[in-house]
Amino acid sequence: MAKMKKSSTRIDMTAMCDVSFLLLTFFVLTSTAKTPEVHPVDLPNSTKETKIPSSDIVTLTVDEDKVYFGLSGKDDKVDVLERMGKEYNIEFTKEEINKFTTMENFGVDIRELKQLLAKPVGELMKPENHTKGIPFQDSLNNQLSAWVKHSRESTWARKQDFVKVAIKGDAEEKFGTVNKVIQILQEQRQNRFYLVTGLRDSDF
């Protein structure tokens, strides 16, 4: 009788290892690090798949009757902050401007921005420093309008381009608040918006 050949139970893992590391490298390189925001929101879902432009965009996060303002590029942040400083007679130092550019978005009164920027970089984005949002309900102190106006002027002056506005509303937010933000933008003839949503299929 022929002897059963003892076959090795080991499998050569080299190829598998190669493939898996190739995939790993691909995902690491293609993924974009999720930048932290001062106030994360739950997005509503839609079937539309319009891509959001990544540059020259103002992101307005709306939640709990509060608005948070975000700018895309570093140069944009510097220029818009300088313009805002001029309007509200606040002089920002170089260090403060540098700290400002590290923030993805923010929700403070511009008159309290200096106090916020005095804090260490690690604490700037903490939600407890952004509890009030940008003032926009009062027509005499409509800083949201001012921020958007200066972003538009800044982009036009430097790049001859129109700034885009993305609205990131929380799914549970009252439409009244979102509508108010839209009205403020429309007063400046900013009539096009990107409503940021998650993705779903049409079977709902």
Binding site: F27, T32, S46, T50, K51, G176, F193, Y194
Partner: protein, 180 residues
């Protein structure tokens, strides 16, 4: 697992020490495990953090040019009223004098509700030869108490059903009253 150390300790006993044939295979199982774990992590996190968007263009408020006002037929104009607690009503034509005398009717969100209504109206108009921009015109009116999701849902219905003309309008007082 200890394949690297399979040949140690031998070689004594007078015989000439020959360099033993090294076992070249390194156990890669752990490495593959780790690699796949990381792949899974990156796959899941990247696909979830890609937000999409919906473009919305509102009419210019400063324009007072009457030429822009297009008369719309009652049978073509559908008004969707969005209220609090996911309530939804629709009517055709004018509020005071609705088309065919059918006043604001209750409906629901999603494919079984308002989508069927919109598709039905579009099919009716298509039978009369009105399609695309000649077809259905939808006015969306929302109370302040409705949620943002409700508005997105209706705008999404516009995209799904392919309504070419739609606008977000302010509610009249009479409409606000029935949506309370």
């Amino acid at each position: 697992m200890a394949e690297l150390n399979t040949d140690g300790g031998g070689g004594k006993g007078g015989k000439k020490v020959r360099s033993k044939k090294q076992n070249a295979g390194v156990d890669l199982t752990a490495m593959v495990d780790l690699a796949f774990l990381l792949i899974t992590f990156f796959m899941l996190t990247t696909s979830l953090s890609k937000p999409q968007s919906m473009e919305l263009t509102m009419p210019d408020k400063t324009k007072v040019d009457p030429i822009d006002k297009i008369p719309a037929k009652e049978s073509k104009t559908m008004t969707i009223l969005i209220g609090k607690d996911n309530s939804l009503k629709y009517y055709m034509g004018m509020f005071d004098d609705p088309y065919q005398g059918i006043g604001p009717t209750d409906s629901t969100y999603g494919k079984e509700g308002v989508r069927q209504v919109i598709l039905q109206k579009m099919a009716n108009l298509k039978a009369q030869g009105f399609v695309d921009k000649e077809g259905l015109l939808v006015l969306i009116k929302s109370t302040d108490e409705a949620t943002y999701t409700n508005m997105i849902d209706i705008l999404d219905e516009m995209a799904i059903t392919g309504v070419k003309l739609y606008a977000i309008n302010d509610m009249t007082d009479a409409e606000k009253e029935i949506m309370q």
